[in-house]
Symmetry: C2
Subunit: 242 residues, 2 copies
């Protein structure tokens, strides 16, 4: 689900194609679509929890997450609308950090287009997973259908009140491959560190998306590049992911 | 490393023994000692990254993490000293969330006891992993020993300036088993939800450590308990982890 469809279509940005490659390379692992979402909670303290990647919003790089409108994170996000995803792929040792503004789309949203997206997310999840939004406690499965009335769900019924779509709009992106050595490459308005992955293949170590790189780091990379020559995957100053 | 030694000794709190069980049950996975640490960064926005569990501080429940004094998280923690760990165990579908105060112990710490802990953490990590603190950029391996002078490290030399120990003192704890249905049990000053794990065995779903449970959740659990009888692992109102 998460790796295909809309996700595979509009690979608009370099980080998006990197992420797609990681999703494809780890698709055999159920947990490859789980990541940790950090928000700022009560008293300005951090909060962190595992959530499931529900794909990209069509024709955009925005990341979708389903959640319960009654969960703590909703109040937190309404208070501070930023989140940072930390997405670690256990098989390929790759870490993606993606931060940005989070839009909370619940049933009271005034924009019809957003309500449509929420409906699509509802029907896009299994009937079983929709059931958890009917119980009295956010995020818990209903253990026994006849235990709680209303537990029977008409598969054609639209989203219930508790169902909420979160949409994170990526603003900053950073990539790290724990098995890699770094390379540098300039990119129009982005500084990219290219790497030679030790165990064969190639990838990117860190992209400071729209940010300047630490000067000492830059000097060091120039030194590394000088010593070992450019990685073969970089041609004409353009990033090429094999 | 992380699962044994000091960790196995002082199982003072229920959450600690639960965590120890998860560590033991997932010890065959290299990534079972990796978790995501959220902090509050620039502009009050959340930050989130993967770090390695370096065991509990001796005779306590405090969680140790090694890091580079030059990394962004240091400034963030100095500004807001709280963190939340989200630790997901991929094989057992268990999630631990642990939040609390983080103490930054670098070489300038005025307390001899803390400096000793830092030294112990330094010698407790491999010589290879110590090398990354010698490079010009936090957290990056040195790709080639002769590339940068000073890359040769005397294994008996104490911690370098960049080496920093983080110590998180758990204050709030929450547990979730994605494969479980909930059970409730009162605990002196804690409310515990006991579960019957669907796929055999038993575990705890959620512990609101020192916090009151949502009333609707409580009513629902009472109803579930009434219907299915208490889980066998609970005897004399005491938590018993099989
Ligand atoms: C494997 C796994 C997947 C999860 N997926 C989601 C999810 O997609 N959305 C969600 O809201 N919570 C999900 N949860 C539960 C969250 O981790 C968290 O416990 C819950 O959302 C309450 O968080 P909050 O109190 O910070 O809002 C998942 C938990 C696990 C263990
Ligand atoms: C598998 C893995 C393990 C890591 N372990 C640590 C660690 O133990 N300590 C650490 O400071 N950074 C560790 N990192 C790097 C962090 O994720 C992060 O990139 C780095 O600490 C810089 O974070 P900051 O800029 O937020 O301070 C690890 C990364 C990966 C992918």
């Amino acid at each position: 689900m998460a790796g295909g469809g809309a996700a595979a279509s509009a690979l608009s940005t370099p980080w998006r194609s990197l992420l797609q490659r990681a999703l494809d390379g780890n698709a055999h692992l159920k947990h490859s679509t789980f990541f940790q979402l950090a928000t700022v909670g009560g008293g300005g303290r951090p909060a962190n929890r595992t959530v499931v990647f529900r794909g990209f919003q069509e024709q955009s790089d925005k990341i979708q997450i389903n959640t319960d409108a009654r969960s703590n994170k909703i109040g937190e996000i309404r208070n501070c609308s930023f989140g940072e995803i930390c997405w670690y792929f256990t098989d390929t040792w790759e870490q993606f950090r993606i931060s940005g503004f989070i839009d909370v789309v619940d049933g009271s949203n005034p924009e019809p287009v957003k309500l449509q997206l929420r409906e699509r997310a509802w029907f896009g999840s299994s009937v079983k997973s929709r059931l958890q939004y009917l119980g009295p406690c956010p995020g818990l499965p209903i253990p026994d259908d006849d235990l709680i009335k209303d537990a029977h769900l008409d598969p054609s019924a639209g989203p219930v009140d508790a169902f909420c779509l979160l949409v994170l709009d990526p603003e900053k992106f950073s990539y790290r491959n724990a098995n890699a050595i770094p390379w540098m490459l300039s990119w129009p308005s982005i500084l990219v560190c290219y790497v030679n992955v030790k165990a064969g293949g190639a990838g990117l170590l860190e992209i400071n998306y729209g940010q300047a790189m630490n000067a000492a780091f830059k000097r060091w990379l120039v030194e590394v590049n000088r010593k070992t020559g450019p990685p073969p995957q970089v041609a004409n100053g353009r990033l090429h992911i094999a």
